[in-house]
Structure formats: C-alpha cells, structure tokens
C-alpha cells in the first residue's frame, strides 16, 4: 500500500517535471519565433519593399538621365519644350515612389539622409523648370548648356544618393540575415538539448518502472506460492484428520458396537422381546458409523488399494445418482502410494460429483491408465459442455490436490459433448511428499 502510493506520487512528480519542461521549451520557442517574425516584418520585408522602391526611383532617375541625353543629342525635329510632358510623367512617378518609400524607409535612416534626397529633388525640379522657361523663351542653346552644367550633375548626385541607400539596405539586410541565422541555430540547438533531456527522462522512468515491476512480480509469486502451500497443507491435514477419525470409528466404535450386538443377540435368547428393538438400534448405529468412516476416509484404500476403493465407490455412486458409470482400466495395476491414491480418489470423487450436479448426463465413464512412469485418471461425461457450467471451489481443490502429487490436470471437451477431466501424475510419488504425509 505504502509503496503503491509512493510510486504514484513519484510518477506524478515526473509527469509534472516533464510538462513543465515542455511548457518552458514551447514558451521559449514561441518567443524566438516572435522575434523572428518581428525581424522579418519590421526589418527584412520592409527593407525589401524599400529596396524595390529605391530601384524604381533609380529607374526613374535613369529615365531622367536618358531624357536629358536625348535633349542634348538634339536629333529630334521637336523643340526642347516637347520634353516637358515626358519629364512630368517621370516626376509623377518619382514623387509617387518617393512618397511610398518614405513610408517604408528603414528606421535607421537619418533625418539628414531624408532631407538630402527630398531637397535635392526639389532643387532638380526648380532647375528643370528654369531650363524649360528658357526653352520657351527660345533660348534653347542656353537651356542645353544649363542641362549639361547643372541638371546632369544634380541627377548624378541623386542617383548616387539612392545607390548609397540601396547599399545601406543591402547591408542591413545582411545583418538581419545573420541575426535570423543566429536565431535559427539557437532554436535548433535548443531542440536538440530538449530532445536529449526528454530521452534521458524517458529512459530513467522506464528503468525505474521495470525495476518496480520486477519487484512486484517477485512478491506476487512468493505470495502465490505461500497460498498454494497453505492450501496443500490444509488438504493434507484434512485427509490425515479424516483418516484418523475414520480409523477410530472403524476400529474402536465398530468393535464396540459389534460386541454390543453380539451380546444383545446372546441375551435375546434369554430375555425376550424388548431387547430386539435395542439390537436393531445398535445395528443401525453400526451401519451409520461404518458409512461415516468410509465417507471420511475409505479404509479400503489403505488396505486394498485405489482400484478396490473405486469399485466400492462407483457402485455406491450409481445407486445414489442413477448415473451409469463404466469403469475401464488399462495397463498393469500396481500398488500406489497411499497419498497419491487418496488424492486421485478425491479428484475422481469431485469430478463425478460435478457430473451429478452440473452435467445433466445419464452416463459417465472412469478410466485408469497405468503407464510405466505415470498414472492417468480420466473422468468423462456426455452432458452439457464445460462452458455452460458454474465454476466452484471444486476445481480449485482438484488443482491443488494434483499439484500436491506433482501432476497435471486438464479440462477438455469430451468425445460425446461433455467434459473430459484428465489427471496425469507420476506413479512414484515424491520423497518429500511421503515424509509430509
């Protein structure tokens, strides 16, 4: 009782520790994943979107450069002012891209950088507007010179600034990638640690349970043996007691009552009448004592052996129950150990009793087979099968008795539908058994 409780407590404690470990580890992993997601959304994704927008801005700046180059090439039959809508389109696209870029710009961008880009663009458009104003006034040559001197330089500066931002984005992307990698390897390491800890825990628990189970089995086996020993001792003691009482009854009370009967017979010749009644009472008492003695322990078993005892018992059984019993013997009969005889006899008795009580059979057969080393006793009926019968103490005592003579007992299906009880026992009983008996 005590050990059982301690085991439960220990197992519960183990479970608690395991659950706590799982919870702690899961919490830790979730935390790491959250950090990763945050890094992804706040840094990496944002960075990527920003880089794409910067590329778009760079592309627009390139378009500006190409448009300026075309203006300087002067191989179109159109005035410089024709380029105004083209610049307006690029400006619209640039401003849209810049506004979007502003929103997703990395957090570490300095105010100076922001100001520089916006300011440079404003001055670029101002310069461009002035150049178009010149062109509208017909001063195309002057406008072209200005494009060459100031506008192209401004565009180049803008392009360089954007390129720097792109490089910056790349660098921070690399940093973020390194951090992501660190998180991943940390998580991986922890998974391995956790798995190792779990493995150790499982192995320890299993070992402990194995050990515990083995101890339990040992104890159960010992208990079972003790119980069996007790039962056997009980049976032996009972047999001994029965035998001695039976002997007393047969030898002493039988002699006394026989003597009383003879004396009464003798007296009957002289004294008349009433003594006859007494004599009859004595005779009846004598009969009863004899049958009681036989029931407790058939003396014929000790004196004439198992076979004679069977003859006596079977004829009585037939008379009392009306069940026809056929008896059959095979092999050369020999004198059996008293102990073996009484137990075989009792088993046969119990089996037949079962037939009478449960089998609903009109016939039964008893077979005794003498083999060189062993003796086999079979009791078979033609009634209902075994599974339809109630199980009682009878079977238990049969097993214990067979056990006492180191034999085996089988309950089989009979040939004619009933039950076949077969006992096989070594013909030479065990030494210790003799001494104990």
């Amino acid at each position: 009782m005590d050990s059982r409780r301690s085991l439960t407590i220990r197992l519960l404690a183990g479970l608690l520790v395991t659950l706590t470990a799982v919870a702690v580890f899961s919490g830790y992993s979730i935390l790491q994943l959250r950090t990763l997601r945050k890094l992804q959304t706040q840094s990496i994704d944002r960075n990527r979107v920003d880089s794409l927008l910067l590329l778009r801005i760079q592309n627009s700046l390139n378009s500006l450069a190409i448009a300026m180059r075309d203006m300087l090439d002067a191989n179109e039959p159109y005035p410089l002012t024709a380029y105004a809508p083209q610049f307006a389109r690029i400006r619209m696209d640039l401003e849209d891209a810049l506004a979007r870029e502003e929103k997703v710009a990395p957090v570490d961008r300095t105010a100076g950088q922001r100001r520089y880009l916006a300011g440079s663009l404003v001055s670029f458009w101002d310069a461009l507007d002035r150049i178009f104003a010149l062109a509208r006034d017909g001063q195309e040559a002057e406008a072209r010179t200005r494009i060459q001197l100031s506008l192209q330089a401004r565009q180049a500066a803008l392009s360089t600034a954007v390129a720097k931002l792109l490089v910056q984005n790349n660098e921070s992307e690399q940093q973020a990638a390194a951090r992501t990698y660190a998180i991943y390897s940390g998580v991986e390491r922890n998974v391995y640690l956790f798995m190792a800890a779990m493995l150790i825990l499982i192995v320890l628990t299993s070992l402990y349970l194995l050990q515990y189970n083995r101890r339990m089995f040992d104890r159960v086996a010992a208990l079972s043996e003790r119980r069996s020993e007790l039962a056997q001792q009980l049976i032996s003691m009972q047999e001994n007691t029965f035998r001695s009482i039976s002997r007393e009854l047969h030898d002493d009370f039988g002699q006394i009552l026989t003597a009383i009967g003879v004396m009464l017979q003798r007296a009957d010749r002289r004294v008349s009448g009433e003594l006859q009644e007494v004599r009859e009472i004595v005779q009846a008492t004598l009969d009863k004592v004899r049958s009681l003695s036989h029931a407790l322990h058939p003396m014929v078993l000790d004196e004439a052996g198992l076979e004679s005892a069977l003859d006596v018992y079977l004829s009585g059984f037939e008379r009392q129950t009306g069940i026809a019993v056929s008896y059959e013997k095979t092999g050369e009969s020999r004198q059996l150990d008293r102990n073996l005889s009484i137990h075989l006899y009792r088993v046969m008795q119990e089996a037949l009793n079962n037939v009478a009580r449960h089998a609903e059979s009109k016939r039964a057969s008893v077979r005794l087979v003498f083999l060189p080393e062993t003796i086999v006793l079979e009791v078979e009926d033609e009634g209902v099968g075994f599974c339809n019968r109630k199980q009682g103490m009878g079977l238990v005592s049969m097993r214990e008795r067979v056990e006492l003579v180191h034999g085996g007992i089988e309950f089989l299906d009979g040939h004619a539908g009933g039950v076949l009880v077969r006992v096989t026992a070594p013909a030479v009983p065990h030494e210790t058994q003799v001494t104990r008996a």
């Binding site: 794409l52 778009r56 378009s63 190409i66 448009a67 075309d70 179109e76 039959p77 159109y78 005035p79 002012t81 024709a82 380029y83 809508p85 083209q86 389109r89 619209m92 696209d93 849209d96």
Partner: protein
Amino acid sequence: MTRRTFFLSPAGLLVAANPDPGFRLVDVTQQAGIRFRHNSGAFGAKHLPETMGPGCAFLDYDGDGWLDILLVNSMDWPGHKRQRSTLALYRNNRNGTFTDVTQRAGLALEMYGMGVAVADYDNDGFPDVLITAVGQNRLFRNTGKGSFVDVTEKAGLGGRSAFSTSAIWCDYDRDGFLDLFICNYVKWSPEHDVFCSVDGRNKSYCTPEAYHGSTCWLFRNRGNGAFEDVTAKSGIFDSNSKALGVAMLDHDRDGWPDLFVANDTQPNKLYRNMRNGTFEDVAVASGVAFSEDGKARAGMGVDAADFDNSGVQGLAVTNFDNEMIGLYRAGTGGLYADIAMKSGIGAASRNSLGFGCAFFDANLDGRLDLVAVNGHIDETVRNISRNHGYAQAPHLFLNDRKGGFHDVAAQLGAGFAEPKVARGVAYGDFDGDGDLDLLITTNQGPALLYRNDVTSENRSLRIRLTGTKSNRDAIGATVRMTTPDGTQSRTVKTGGSYLSQSEMAVTFGLGRRDAAGRVVVEWPSGLVQEFKDVKAGAYECTEGKMMRARERY
C-alpha cells in the same frame, strides 16, 4: 496565384472538359492562290528589324464589298541584294480565290516595310494605305480606280526616318478627318547595330534594352490632304518609348478616343484624350503600365474590346515569353485589373512570345474570343531553352460565359496549331459567309489564310458603317446590340493587333437567335441612332439614314 485558386478558376475546370469549340479553321492559303513570302533580308548579320515583321491587312480597296488582302514585305539590305521583294495586294475574286494585283495597283515597290494601317483619310469612299517602315513610312492614296499613288511627301509625312511599327487611324480631335498615330520602336541603324547573344556564342537579335527609345508620332489631319506633326504639341512626345502596338479605346467613356501604346521593356502608355488636342499619360495610375508585380513587360501586340460584354473595353497585350499575356478588365475609377491568371490566359501563354492579337467572336456565340499568334525572335533560343521554341503555336482562347478563357487552337483542325514564327494577325469575312476568317503573317515565311467554318447553328449580325458628318469610315463609332442574352458592343477601329489591320465592319455573334432586339449606333459626331428587331445578316448603315440589308454577309 495559389494552386487552389487555379483549380477553382473556370479555366482550370474547362481544360478538363474540352467541349467542341463550334468552329474549324481551314488553311486555304494554297487554294486561294496566295503565294506571298516575307523577305526579311536576313543575311547573317542579324539586324534587329529582320525579326520584327511583317504585318497584314484585310481591306476592300476596290469597294466591291469583298475583302481584299494586303501583305507588307521587307527587302534585302543595301549591299546584300539577292532578290526583289515588294508589298503584295490580292484582289478577292469572290469565289474563294485571289488575284495578285500589286503591279496593277501601283504598289509593286520595294521598301523595308513593317506594318500597315488602312483608312479613308480623305473621306473619298476608298480606303487609303499607310505602310510603316524602317526608314521612310509611306502613305498611299487610293485613286478609286484600282490603284494607289504615293502621297507621302504631299501629305507632309516625308523627310522622316525611323523604325516604325504599328500605326492607327483615329479622329482624336473629332473634326471628321482621320488623324494618324505611328509607333516607333527604337533608334536603330545598321551602323549602330549591337552584338547580342542568346546562347552566349552566336549573334542573335537584341531585345530593345540595347537601343535608345524613340518617340511615337501623332499627325493631325488638316482636312486638305496634308498632316501636321502634333507630337510635341499634344504631349505624346516621349523619347524613352519603345512602342510596338497601339490600340484605340474610350478609356474615360467620354466619347473621345484615347490611345493605349504597348511598349517593349518600357512602361506601357495610356494616353487619355483631354479633348483640347492634348493627351495625358494615365497608364501608371490606371494599372496598365506595368505587370501586376511592377515590371515593365515586353508589350508587342494589343487589342481593345468589350470582351466581357460589360459595355466597356478591356485590353489584351501580348508580351515576351515568361511574361504572359496581359488581359486587362476595366474596373471602376479608371482602374484596370490584369485578370490573365484568373481567366486561364496567363498560365496558357506563359511559354509563348506573343505578337499579333485580336478579339473576335470566332464561334459567333456572342462572346469575344482572343487570337494571339506567337513566335520567338531568334532561332538560337532552341540552344538555351526547351520550353521555348523558335516557331510557336498560336493561341485561340475561347471565351466561356464565366469570365474564363481556354485555348482551343489544337481542336480547330490540322495546321492551325502548327508552330509558326508568326507576327501579324487580322480577321475579316473574306468569303461572305458571316463568320470571321483569319490572316496570319510569318517572319521570313508565308502569309496564311484560314477560312472559318462555323459548325454550330450560330448566326451573326454584321454592320458596315459609313459616316457623313463623322469620318467616312466611322472610326470611333460604337455599336451596341441587345438580345435577351445581353448587350454586346463593338467599336469601329483600325490598327490594334501587331502591325496589322482587321476589317472595319463590326460582327456580332447571335448564338442560336435569329434577330437582335435592338441595335444602337453611337457615331463619333455625337449622333445616336437606334434600330429595332434587326434580323441576322449583313447591313449597311450610313450616318443619319436607315439601315440597309446587304445581299451577302
């Protein structure tokens, strides 16, 4: 797109179903007597223009009601002269055959031609022809007597040299005279040709990144046979453009023609007509400048049409391989959504390098289908990619009722789905049976004429418009036809596709119905005419007059 949305898309479901498309396309090139072969002049130096042409057109140059065929040709390069190659004009013999009348029509001249745009710019009742070219474009006026005269100089279009591609006639200022928009590709000359290679060994044709862009041109028709260059004045000028395709559409639904220009590796342009002679580019704001992932694609051919019967025109733009066709559906607020993936066109066109494309109702079921012809620009592509051949099969995307398209090219009979190095495509009913036939040009190869045989009981309603107050071709007129199935709309237009021009008459598919409940014509002049219970068949409709049935389709 996730796998789930692909399987849920109608196109995904229909690929498995494979119903009968309801028509066949029969190659009748030989029996029609069309012997044309395109000469790109290629001699091994791989000059960029060699791989870009040619275009084709369906036109009725002699006004007999039967469609004739004009095929543009290039020529040998100077210093590498081997053969003479000219444009080709084929007159319809009204029995399924054609006669080559190039010589008689005065068009047997050599030029490095690319595309064609046909319209009656002088409103004399006979279609005139603009041929775009590498070098000097040419305008040919139709004399009305079966011949053409070169009026390039007289019209004020001379003295210009460029790499011109597609062109379009439209009356952008709505003065009743057709104006001319010409796409220019890149600044190219044999002296400035750049070395490019697809496979790293052999020279191949360059993609346009290698060259400077070139502005498109807009010429206003003065109404006296001469044109005024309004490129700068109208705000069209853009030296970064590398334009290949142009389509007219009414983007802001104000009745004034707007223009969509497909640029190769540059953002597309959507020029909104400001109704004061100027245009404003709203492509970026409308969502048609870039692909859905913000990339400028290699726009080639383009067509605008009311393909979802919503009453508003959408756009299809063919692109380079791995870029997919852009299928833009007009939404609210002037925004377009690229539904190529959702409709099934995207995935089906991923491996194609598309050029010409046109919306037309191939099976006359009342929904516009899309033909797109393909072909790579360089044969060395075979060395680097298994997915992309030099010759590629055309697509014919059939429009199902649920906004999906699926390619039935392989089901249309032998030949059509054969891989081709195709460039131009145009549609027109050359045999007068009421359905639309196809004309395809191939680079350095033949022109192919496919006769459409509609196998279902579907009928059509065809109307040819003639303007009086509006320009005579009624370009820009919109016809809306209503049946119990809904309302379809068509706009009379030139250009579109790639370098090519389809017939100007409008064709409605009626399905099994034999009449339209209502036909409304909205003329460019602002006049709106309505006709009730119009039976299936072919009609003439002159501005301000009753509709007259024609004996044939």
